[in-house]
Symmetry: C2
C-alpha cells in the first residue's frame, strides 16, 4: 500500500521496522478497515479512470457503519445549531436580520445557550470531562430514557466517539496478560484490537446463533471458569447491545442474568450501547444495562460503564467523533484516575461534545423545529427498518446462506455454508474461506463486506458482516446483484 514510501538507501536498517517495533502493534488486527477495504479503495481509484473495465460501475461500501458516506443526510436542526455555535458572528445584532431568515428561532436560542455554557466558546479546551451543561443534558436523557432512577452529571464523561472511553476503561482494568476481558463472539474488532494493544487476554464467550444471537448464560459461566483454570483473572466483560455485528437486541431477562454473573464473578461490565436508538422490532425494545441493574437491588453495586456515540443510531454523525460514557458504582478514587487519564489528552473535541448534547436533547413537540426533526428521524428509521427486512430476506433466499433478523443496529451477520471445493480453493490461495468469498464478491460486483473471521466465529463456520446503510434503491439493486453472484459462485464450486 505504501510501497513507494521511501527511496531506501542500500543497507540502511530502520530503527522503526515491523521486526523491531512493539509486537502488540504488529499483532493487532482491525478487519473493518483491513484487507477487503484496502482492495475496495484501490478498485474505487481504478474505477475513476476513463479506460477501466470492471463488471460494475461503483464500489458499494457495506463494510462499515458510516451512514453519511453512503447517502444518509444529516438532521437539519443539529447542523443549524452547530454552525451558529462555531460562527457566533452570525448572532451579532447587525447580522441577525439575515440569520433570522436562515435559521429557526429555536436553533438560534439553542446556540446561544450552548455558547453561554462554554468557557470561551468552541475554540477553547473544556474541562477534561466535557462541558458541564452538556453533561447535564446527557444525565437528563438517561433518566428520561430509563423512565426511572437518577443520573448525576458528575458520572458522565464526554469522549471522542465511544472508542476513546472504552479504551480508557480497558487501560485501567488491564495490568498484565494474566488479566482477561470477556468479549462476545462474534464481536466488534475494536475490542480484540484494543486488548491486543494493552496486552490482555481475550476470554471469548459465544453468542447463540440458533437463538437470535442471545446469551447462553451457562456458556458465559463456563468461559469464566475455564479462564480461571488457565490462570487468567476475568476483570471486565464487554456486551454490545444492540449487537454489532449481530443486530440482536437483548431481553430484560438476558441482561439481568448477565449482570448477576458479572456481580458474582467480580467482573466490571462494559456496556456498548451505541446503537440504542436503532430498534426495528417494537416487540424487542432496548433496555439499558443501568435500568436493568436498578431493578436488581441485591446486586445494585455492580460496577458498570455504559458507552454511547453520535456516530451510530439514526443520527449517524460519525465525522464528529462525539460520545459519552456513564460510570455506575465506580470507586471515587478510580474516577479520579479516569479523570487524570482523560486530562492527559486535555478534552474531547468540542464540536463532538456539542453534537452529543444535541443528540440527547432533540427538539420537543411544540418546538418550531420539531416537525422537520420528526419527519427526518422517522424517514431514516423507517427506511432502515425496511432495508433491514429486505436484506435479511434476500440473504435467506440465497442457497446456503442463513441470516438472523436484524432487530437493531445496522448490520447483518449471515452464515454461509461454503462448498468444500470453495474452501479448498481458498486454501490454495492462502486465504481464510470467508475472506476468499468476500474478495470474490468484491471483484465481481463491487460490493464490499467484511469476512466473519475478522469478528470471530465458531470454528468451521463462515460469515460476513454487511451493513444495510446504502440508500434503498442502491441496497435493493445490490441484493439482486449479490444473488446472481452467489448463484454463480455456488455453481462454480459444486458442479
Amino acid at each position: 500500500m505504501f510501497q513507494s514510501a521511501i527511496h531506501c538507501s542500500a543497507g540502511y536498517e530502520h530503527i522503526l521496522h515491523p521486526t523491531t517495533m512493539n509486537t502488540r502493534v504488529v499483532k493487532a488486527e482491525y478487519a473493518v478497515r483491513g484487507r477487503l477495504v484496502l482492495e475496495a479503495e484501490a478498485l474505487a481509484k481504478e474505477l475513476s479512470k476513463p479506460d477501466c473495465n470492471f463488471p460494475f460501475e461503483e464500489i458499494i461500501f457495506c463494510n462499515i457503519g458510516n451512514p453519511q458516506a453512503v447517502g444518509q443526510q444529516p438532521l437539519t436542526f443539529y447542523r443549524q445549531v452547530i454552525s451558529l455555535c462555531l460562527n457566533p458572528d452570525l448572532l451579532k445584532d447587525e447580522n441577525l436580520p439575515h440569520t433570522n431568515k436562515l435559521f429557526p428561532a429555536d436553533a438560534i436560542q439553542r446556540a446561544q445557550l450552548a455558547l453561554e455554557a462554554t468557557a470561551g466558546g468552541f475554540g477553547a479546551y473544556s474541562h477534561s470531562m466535557g462541558v458541564e451543561y452538556f453533561r447535564e443534558q446527557v444525565a437528563n436523557y438517561i433518566v428520561e430514557r430509563d423512565g426511572e432512577g437518577e443520573c448525576d452529571p458528575s458520572r458522565i464523561f464526554l469522549t471522542n466517539g465511544a472508542s476513546e472511553g472504552i479504551s480508557k476503561i480497558l487501560q485501567m482494568l488491564i495490568r498484565s496478560p494474566k488479566d482477561g476481558i470477556l468479549i462476545p463472539i462474534p464481536q466488534y474488532p475494536l475490542y480484540s484490537a484494543t486488548l491486543t494493544l494493552f496486552g490482555a487476554t481475550a476470554i471469548p464467550y459465544y453468542l447463540d446463533e440458533s437463538k437470535d444471537w442471545s446469551f447462553d448464560i451457562d456458556n458465559l459461566q463456563n468461559a469464566i471458569q475455564q479462564a480461571r483454570e488457565n490462570g487468567i483473572e476475568p476483570r471486565g466483560m464487554v456486551v454490545i447491545n444492540p449487537g454489532n455485528p449481530t443486530g440482536q437486541v437483548l431481553s430484560n431477562e438476558n441482561i439481568a442474568d448477565v449482570l448477576k454473573v458479572c456481580h458474582d464473578e467480580r467482573v466490571v461490565v462494559l456496556a456498548d450501547e451505541v446503537y440504542q436508538p436503532n430498534i426495528y422490532n417494537p416487540d424487542r425494545p432496548f433496555h439499558s444495562f443501568k435500568k436493568v441493574l436498578n431493578s436488581l437491588p441485591n446486586i445494585w453495586d455492580t460496577e458498570l460503564v455504559s458507552f454511547h456515540s453520535t456516530s451510530k443510531g439514526f443520527l449517524g454523525e460519525c465525522g464528529f467523533r462525539g460520545g459519552y460514557m456513564e460510570i455506575v458504582n465506580m470507586h471515587p478514587e478510580s474516577q479520579e484516575q479516569l479523570y487524570k487519564l482523560l486530562s492527559i489528552n486535555l478534552c474531547s473535541n468540542l464540536p463532538g461534545q456539542l453534537m452529543t448534547s444535541l443528540m440527547v436533547n432533540p427538539p420537543k413537540e411544540g418546538d418550531e423545529s420539531y416537525p422537520l426533526y420528526a419527519k427526518e428521524r422517522d424517514a431514516i428509521m423507517s427506511s432502515l427498518a425496511r432495508r433491514s427486512a429486505k436484506v435479511t430476506n434476500a440473504l435467506n433466499n440465497m442457497e446456503g446462506i442463513s441470516c438472523n433478523t436484524s432487530e437493531g443496529a445496522m448490520y447483518v451477520f449471515p452464515t454461509i455454508t461454503l462448498p468444500a471445493r470453495a474452501v479448498a480453493e481458498a486454501a490454495k490461495q492462502d486465504l481464510v474461506p470467508d475472506t476468499y468469498y468476500c474478495l470474490e464478491l468484491l471483484k465481481n460486483t463491487g460490493i464490499c463486506v467484511v469476512p466473519g473471521s475478522g469478528f470471530g466465529q465458531k470454528d468451521g463456520t463462515f460469515h460476513f458482516r454487511g451493513t444495510f446503510l446504502p440508500q434503498e434503491d442502491k441496497i435493493n439493486n445490490a441484493m439482486d446483484i449479490m444473488a446472481q453472484f452467489h448463484t454463480k459462485f455456488m455453481q462454480r464450486f459444486t458442479d
Copy 2:
C-alpha cells in the same frame, strides 16, 4: 474531588480501585490539569457565590495554553468556512441570497471545495489518514514553509490534536521498560505521562537555562551513554521547538547537531513543532527539523516525525482538536502499521481536520478575506509579543526571580530562588517547594500557574510555568498583583 461519588455499601470491595488497577495509570502524572488547577477550579466555583470573601475577584488562568478561554477571539474567515461546511444547507440556491450577505465569496468558495473533497460531508468517517485534499494542503504548506524540498501528502496523517500522533508513534517505538525515550528537562508533561502509561523509561536531557534553554550536545550524548550503561536502549528523542515550557527557539546549528546525534545513535526524532507560527524575535526564526535535515545529505535517512496542531500558534483553536504529523524516512511497512493503529479509532474528527486544512492555507493577498485575516493575525501576534516582553520584564524585576526571554510559544518558565524558611514551610506542609509557592500565589491573588516540578527541573532549583495568554489589561494587572504578592512572600520568609 469526587468524594460523593458513591454511597458505598459496607464491606464491598471494588474491582476497579487504585490498589488493584494498572499501576502505570496510577503512576502517570499530568501537572497541567493537576492539583493547582483543581484548586483553582474549586476557588472559581466559590467565587461565583454571593457571600464569598477572597482577596481577589476572579481566577486568572495562566496554567494552560488555552487562548480562547482567556479572551482571544477566533479568526473570522476560518469560522465562516467551518460553519458553511457543517451546515451545507446554507449553500442551497434558495438560501444563497441571505448567505451572500453573511459570508464573503471566498469563504463560500472554500467551503464548496472542502465539501466536494469529503466523501459524504463532515458527518462521515474519512480515510483513517484524513481527507486526502486536506493532506495535500498540509503538504503544500510544508513545502512553502521550508522554501525547498518535497512533501508527499501520503506521508501526512491528520490527528486529534498533536497528542494523538505523538502517542501512536511512542506506542510503536516502545516494547518494554528497557526501551528509553529522550525527553528534555523541562518538558511538557504529556511526554512523561505517556511514557509512564506505555511503560517506557524516560531518559532526561537537560536544556541549558544559562544559554536561553538551548541544547548542550555533550549533555545529550552523556544522557544516551548513561542510558546504555544502565541497559536502556534509546529509541526516540522528543524535541519541542519552539519550547514548552521554555519558550526558546532553536538555532539551525543546534538542530543540525541534534539530528547528527540522533542519526549516529540510531534514535527516531519526534519533533514537537506545534508552536511554529508563534515567533516573537525576528532574529530567531523558526527552522523545521525537516528543513534542516534536508540540508544534511550525509544523514538524509534519519527517521523523523514532525507534529503540528491547530491548538497552538496564534490560531489557538484548542477545542477543535485538529493536528497532523509528517513522517519522514519511515519504513513503508511501519507506515502500514501506523495506518492500522490509527484506523482502530477510525479517523480524527472532521471539523478538526477542516480547521487543520484552513490553518495551513489561510487567505492569500488579493483574496477578499485577506485584509481582515491579516489584521486579526497581526493583532494577536503583536499583542503576544508585547505580553511576552512585559511578563519577562516584570518577572525579572522581582527579587529572586530570573526569566529567559520567551522567543516563541506562549510560556515563561522562570527560576525562583526560594528562601530557606519557605522551603522548610513547604516541607512542613508536605509540599514540593514550588508547589507551595504556586498554591500561595493562587490563594492570595487568584493567579493560577503550574509548579516547575510538573515539568522537570534540576534538583534544588524551583520554577513555575505561566502563560501570557490573558488579554493585555488583565496580564498587566496580574503582573502588578503578582509583584506585590511576591514582595510580601519573600519578606515573610526572610525577615
